[in-house]
């Protein structure tokens, strides 16, 4: 039912403009619609027509074409499409004669002819018509003098004895497997869209719209496939219904002083928290309820100025700890023994060694094999053995869970290994923050933010270094995204800056009045299902959570703490679980609203601390009452029997 008219060309193919405007005028005149359809409406009709045709609703297509007076595509193109779909190759080639002038680039006409003949040839071979195939090869393909390498390849397929072998050797799935449709889709690229629409055009536009909405969705933290998002209304997760950690589900007050750091193990099963009084607690995460319970208590000693840095090994077994005040050593605990248990004799040796240390009352430096294979509460100490003026306040692991780097502002920057201890030094770098990054070739470099506001990359294997970026202020803290492509820097008086480490450009600046003006060490953490959230501690007693790359750069504020939020940790396995550590001596677990409310309900039942606040942006009045009702932590029934011994 096509009336051979073409709607207006709007894609820059100026040579056809005169012809198509005449056709457009004719189409408008022939249309049954009044007032006549404008450009956008005509295009939309074409998209709808294509969509209906691809569904097989041909009556609807005919009715649409007649009523709107708009042809779905150029009539010659339509005939061409029909001929190819039916395998009428000669007719198709004839159609190409009239379509030749419409092709975007003149040279493509040859390629189109080539591809048609190629398909024809393969189909003939498949059907066993060797004479016909040879004829196409010699008299049609070869004279084109196009892609002779492919022609040679095609000629070898004659040796295939049957269709099945042909499919296998050539990789061509066969005429029954939709190769004609695939061919049409490929040929479409040579024509302007006005002549031949890209396949599934309406559906791809709708998918793009959905993806845009998903990207803008402020609280989106689920794995919703694009195809399942409803088109009926704009997608926007609500704060309470999403998998976004909107509400406080647990307040844990076991610490006695300001909680300075918190870190989840990479397997998401443990949380480590470090306190100003030197206590380091390991918490177990319950798989079902996501509830935290104390599993271990370690202590680094009170004169060290508190815990400055906690780092889990990538295999989630070991915890590294740096103290705040000029300590020349770092401590490593084995939290979980390795999956392969040591032989009985080694275990016995370990037990006797441990017994000895308790008898003597002195702290024994136990050799690495026994400490790091058992679940001992004795940490192993790593230092260069140098002067007491050394200061290691930050550290980061290498992916092998054996090597790590540690450094500090006095200019120490060392590589250690668990077996051999101190290995190498990089001199004269005043280190503020550390991370490691592995490139595509599997080489790991240490990234150090230094006192001059630079982030530099250090390869301890080749002893090569280079500057990645230079900030215009002092860097307070640094953390890397899960994919190691983005670094979030807390810069004095400037808030958070996101840098692309590959391209070395600043991606985004996140303003945070409470983040960097006070000069406090506040830590941030990436998180969420796709790592698209950034949470940070803040001076205003809230945690701030940004959706990265979202249209809105205003953070969501999680309020409830009564002191500065020093650090945040986002569970890498349970993407809706966020933990905040504060000067008010508590840590809070933030969960999606539904989970938080049910967690609070169980809390009330056992008489523990309840959390019933934490709604968006408003400090709630009932927070002050909850710490007063805390149950003594030692009677927490969830605690491990294997309680770490306080030093």
């Amino acid at each position: 039912m096509e009336n051979g008219c073409l709607n207006g060309v709007t894609n820059g193919n100026s040579g056809n403009h005169a012809a198509s405007t005449a056709e457009a005028a004719a189409a408008a005149a022939a249309s049954a619609v009044s007032p006549p359809l404008n450009e956008r409406s005509l295009e939309t009709v074409r998209l709808i027509g294509q969509f209906l045709r691809e569904l097989g609703l041909s009556h609807s297509v005919d009715a649409l074409v007649q009523e709107s007076g708009c042809a779905l595509e150029n009539s010659a193109a339509a005939s061409f499409r029909r001929h190819v779909a039916n395998g009428d190759w000669d007719a198709a080639e004839e159609c190409m004669q009239s379509l030749q002038s419409l092709v975007t680039e003149a040279s493509s006409a040859t390629e189109i002819a080539f591809r048609l003949c190629e398909q024809r040839y393969m189909e003939l071979l498949e059907a066993g018509d060797y004479m016909g195939a040879l004829n196409v090869l010699r008299n049609r393909l070869t004279p084109l003098k196009f892609n002779t390498g492919r022609v040679h390849e095609l000629s070898t397929y004659i040796m295939c004895s049957d269709a099945e072998e042909l499919h296998r050797i050539s990789g061509w799935p066969g005429s029954l497997a939709g190769t004609r449709e695939a061919l049409l889709d490929q040929l479409q690229q040579f024509f302007p869209p006005a002549v031949m629409l890209p396949p599934r055009r309406l559906l791809s536009l709708l998918d793009e719209a959905v993806q845009y909405q998903l990207a803008k969705c402020r609280y989106h933290n689920t794995d919703l496939p694009v195809a399942e998002v409803s088109l009926l209304a704009d997608h926007a997760c609500s704060r309470d219904s999403a998998e976004f950690p909107a509400r406080c589900g647990q307040v844990a007050d076991q610490h006695q002083d300001e909680v300075r750091c918190c870190q989840f193990s990479p397997d998401g099963r443990h949380l480590a928290t470090g306190c100003k009084d030197g206590a380091v607690f390991i918490w177990r995460v319950d798989d079902l309820t996501l509830r935290l319970s104390v599993a271990r208590r370690y202590h680094i000693g009170e004169e060290r100025g508190g815990v400055a840095c906690l780092a889990w090994s990538p295999d989630s077994r070991l915890l590294l700890c740096c103290a705040a005040e000029d300590s020349s050593d770092v401590l490593v605990w084995c939290v979980s023994p390795p999956p392969l248990l040591p032989p009985a004799s080694a275990a016995a040796h370990h037990h006797s060694l441990l017994a000895e240390s308790h008898l003597n009352g002195a702290s024994v430096v136990v050799n690495s094999a026994s400490v790091l294979s058992g679940g001992s509460s004795e940490p192993q100490r790593f230092s260069r053995g140098g002067t007491p003026e050394e200061s290691l306040t930050t550290a980061a692991w290498f992916p092998d869970s054996v090597h790590f780097v540690a450094g500090g502002i006095r200019g120490q920057f060392y590589l250690f290994s668990l077996e051999a201890g101190y290995r190498k030094s990089w001199d004269f770098i005043r280190v503020v923050a550390l991370a490691t990054r592995t490139d595509r070739d599997g080489n790991t470099a240490a990234l150090a933010a230094d006192s001059f506001g630079r982030v530099r990359q250090y390869r301890f294997d080749t002893m090569q270094d280079e500057t990645l970026l230079q900030e215009d202020g002092s860097i307070i803290a640094m953390c890397l995204s899960r994919d190691q492509q983005v670094a979030a820097l807390n810069v004095v008086n400037s808030g958070l800056r996101l840098w692309d480490l590959q391209h070395r450009v600043c991606l985004q600046r996140l303003a945070g009045p409470g983040i960097s003006q006070g000069g406090y060490c506040l830590h941030a953490c990436f998180g969420g299902l796709t790592g698209n959230f950034l949470a940070s501690g803040s001076q205003d007693n809230c945690a701030h959570v940004w959706r990265i790359g979202g249209a809105d750069s205003q953070p969501d504020r999680l309020s409830g703490h009564s002191g500065i939020v020093n650090s945040v940790a986002w569970n890498p396995q349970h993407h809706g679980m966020l933990v905040t550590a504060s000067d008010d001596c508590t840590i809070r677990v933030w969960l999606p609203t539904a989970r938080a409310l049910s967690a609070a309900a169980t809390d009330h039942g056992s008489g523990g601390t309840a959390a019933t606040d934490g709604s968006s942006g408003q400090a709630s009045a009932n927070l002050a009452s909850s710490p007063a009702t805390h149950s003594p932590s030692d009677s927490n029934p969830d605690e491990d029997d294997d309680d770490g011994i306080l030093e």
Binding site: K276, I409, F428, R454, Y520, C521, N566, D583
Partner: protein, 121 residues
């Protein structure tokens, strides 16, 4: 006084000046403008940039060189008194001091630093 952990800056330099009480880094020789000043404890140095300081309220003081508006400065870490910063100089000839910091010699120590291997190689 419960507060979070203060961020300690470090200006680097070949010769580093720090608080004599807690060894907190303050400044270096490169930032030194003049050694010919006198404070409460004796000799005092004038520096361009000093970090890790806490500032008092503004005081209107009469000094040897004239009337100035100053703030007392103390160590961010241990709160020890260190000197003062010139906010405003009444006399034209003294304007060059504005924004600069006086650290009293007895309240700071000088120690060996090292050059930045990246820039000064």
């Amino acid at each position: 006084l419960t507060m979070g952990r203060h961020f300690i800056q470090h200006l680097g330099g070949d010769r580093v000046f720090s608080c004599s009480n807690c060894d907190c880094p303050l400044t270096n020789r490169k930032e030194l403008v003049s050694t010919r000043f006198t404070g409460a404890t004796g000799r005092a140095f004038l520096f361009n940039r000093v970090v890790n300081l806490e500032f008092s309220g503004i005081h209107d003081r009469m000094m040897l060189t004239g009337r100035h508006l100053v703030r007392d400065v103390s160590c961010k870490k241990c709160k020890a008194k260190l000197g003062w910063i010139y906010e405003f100089a009444i006399e034209e000839g003294q304007k060059y001091k504005e924004g600069k910091v006086i650290l009293e010699r007895a309240l700071i120590n000088e120690s060996e630093g090292f050059p930045d291997p990246v820039r000064d190689s």
